[in-house]
């Protein structure tokens, strides 16, 4: 059983916690040992958030070591750019093309980096970058909060695991009235 280390990066309130919960449950269902680490509290108030999800035969640390990330799932452009040192050489980088400017940028005291700049810094880790318009897709589906599940759909293609397993876990983890929307969002991501 090959170990898989997945790092999610985003901004508080973007739904990384639900996404990492789903991803962890899928791992368990596929027979892996699973650990997940994230930080709640202060950081959620619009600050930087990161979630580590690890699948493996036997996982010790819930936190991923530098240079070990197999897949980086970026919910926001700038936040994705911070993790180049954590990437394996052939890591897959999936980035949502979406900007949430931090306060200093809104105040004109700092500049939001361009897409090219974010790419170039990540490329010191891995060349394998996939840009996804997940927020756009989620908006078209009628709810921008679906970003995480769209991204999980994209991720599922790289991780394997039967579609039923993924959808079963998603259905279990979201309130009944959102099941249909989440299923659509997942499949939209999976088709990309």
């Amino acid at each position: 059983m090959k170990k898989v280390d997945i790092l999610m990066a985003g901004v508080g309130g973007q739904g990384t916690i639900l996404a990492s919960n789903i991803l962890s449950e899928v791992g368990l269902e596929l027979g892996y040992d699973v650990k997940k680490a994230e930080v709640h509290g202060m950081a959620q108030r619009g600050g930087t958030v990161e979630s580590h999800v690890r699948w493996g035969e036997k996982v010790y640390s819930p936190v991923i070591e530098q240079g070990e990330v197999d897949i980086l799932l970026g919910f926001e452009m700038l936040e994705s750019g911070r993790w180049s040192a954590y990437l394996k050489k052939d890591a897959v980088i999936i980035i949502n093309r979406y900007r949430i400017p931090p306060p200093a940028v809104n105040l004109g005291k700092a500049r939001y980096p361009s897409e090219e700049e974010i790419e170039s810094t990540l490329k010191s880790g891995s060349q394998n970058i996939l840009w996804i318009n997940a927020t756009e897709i989620a908006k078209e589906l009628g709810n921008p909060a679906m970003v995480g599940v769209v991204l999980l759909g994209v991720l599922s293609k790289h991780l394997g695991g039967a579609e039923d397993v993924w959808l079963g876990v998603i259905k279990r983890m979201v309130p009944p009235k959102f099941q249909e929307l989440n299923t659509k969002a997942f499949l939209a991501g999976r088709q990309i």
Binding site: V11, G12, G13, N21, S24, E25, L28, D33, V34, K35, K36, A37, E38, V39, H40, G41, M42, A43, Q44, R45, G46, G47, T48, V59, Y60, S61, P62, V63, I64, E65, Q66, G67, L78, E79, G81, R82, S84, A85, K89, I100, P101, P102, P103, A104, V105, N106, L107, G108, A110, R111, Y112, P113, E117, I118, S120, T121, L122, K123, S124, G125
Partner: protein, 585 residues
Amino acid sequence: MKKLMTGNEAIAYGAYLSGVRVGAAYPGTPSTEIMDNFSRYPGVHAEWSPNEKVAMDVGIGAAYAGTRALVSMKHVGVNVAADSLFYVSYTGLKGGLVLVSADDPGMHSSQNEQDNRKYARFAKLPMLEPSDSEEAKQFVGIALEISEAFDTPVMLRTVTRISHSSSPVELSEEEPPGAPPEPPLYERNPGKFVMVPAYARQRHPVVEEKIKKLAEYAETLAINRIEPGDDTLGIVTAGSVYQYAREVFPQATFLKLGMVYPLPEKLIREFASRVKTVLVIEELDPFFEEQIRLMGIEARGKDIFPMIGEFSPTLIRQCATAAGIIKETPAQAEAAAAVPAPVELPIRPPILCPGCGHRGLFHVLREAGVLVLGDIGCYTLGSAPPLSAMHTCGCMGASIGVAHGVAKAGVKDRVVAVIGDSTFFHSGFHPLINVLYNESNVTVIITDNSVTAMTGHQQHPGTGITLQKKKTAAVDLEKLVRSIGFSQVDVCDPYNIDNLAKVLEEHLSSSQPSVIIAKRPCVLYTREKSTPPTVDPDACVNCGVCLELGCPPLMQAEDHVTIDPILCNGCGLCIQVCSSEAISR
């Protein structure tokens, strides 16, 4: 069957399985979800107490009555509860009592990173520390057994990476013990439970004896275990750090301590005799290292690993490599050499949410130019630019006392204390009485968002709802403050900036102490949202006044400001501050 649980969920589950019937806590990251989860089990009483000391006393009372009890808090909460912790160490108890201290190395959400293992030694009681969720579940049960067998409270220490990390937990097939058929019988025993000096003097030797016996017991306890490996390196560690070290040193011999106080001296000696070098890997203070050195055993530790901040596999590998204990692999050397393109990535500090009522208050305070002695909660974010309108924040409940002291020092500034509603119920009442009793003209502003927002929206004595979601008495802040003798009291909506500014001016110009209750429910909790306003780009003169609110949806576009409708909550503060009437709904 296995289920993924966070450490906090597993502690609650372990407590339920072990027949804990009373739980008390005050919220605090990373401990909060313990009591939240425990409250959902059938047949238990679980409560948010107003503060940690009350929670501790509630747990002690239940344990005195012979009922198993769980008390949980963040590390600094133990400072608040410490007085009670120290007496219960002397009295002992009847039912098992576990105090969970959730420490926060790295200060993800805290004002300090104190190492609460020292409380075990200080208060002379045993402490266990789990290294994953399965252990978190099991250790609660072990702690309760030790508590009852040795007549002592037991501390269970977690850290953020245990409390908030998930790993599989084996679900129990057995039903937890049901409620006892008879009400518990309270045994009256003043010699044991009345800590007047004469009795306390008799209890102290019992406490010393207890710790000695526990140290002997630690030698045989299965959760202190040697994991054999290569004998060149022997690593002593515990908790989350054990997991990191296991990744970095797959071959080493380990002494994994499940009970972190008191230490098993014989076992440590045996371990040290088996290996060439003893390496102690522990976050924060050299707690094991100093005790091991006192045993006369040579050990390395803080000469290699820092005393500051959170550990990780990355950090342990870097330190061990720098010390020459392990060699860098070629892949690591290559990764380290790969220098990322020099791109400046602006930081993203936490910030008040769009629609937060605190924003209006801090805008008004900044404009008034007053000195703001602050407190802990979401509103502490009013200290960050661009609002920059809070000038101190130390610990919960400090604001009012500090403001009084600053006023008594005779500074020229006009002095305001700002404290949240939950923080006020936690520890704001006593300093408020002091303002009256010892007469200073401090203006106290209670930011009442009707919930404990910072830690994830817990109820408190002002909300009229219990942790277990029952309706209950709600303490009315205004009535409370008036009843203790304040005559100048106003309740204002911080969404209405002009009115709040006017009221503040009235309070500051009067010579008596006064209270303003800035009342606006947390929008993240109520989930209320109004229509987002829009900016007329032609009318916008790009003066930047609205941006000074520090509200995330307000963004600088080319030559005007825009509002992101996804992020915006529609509070309308920006409409009020815009002097060119460019923002409207």
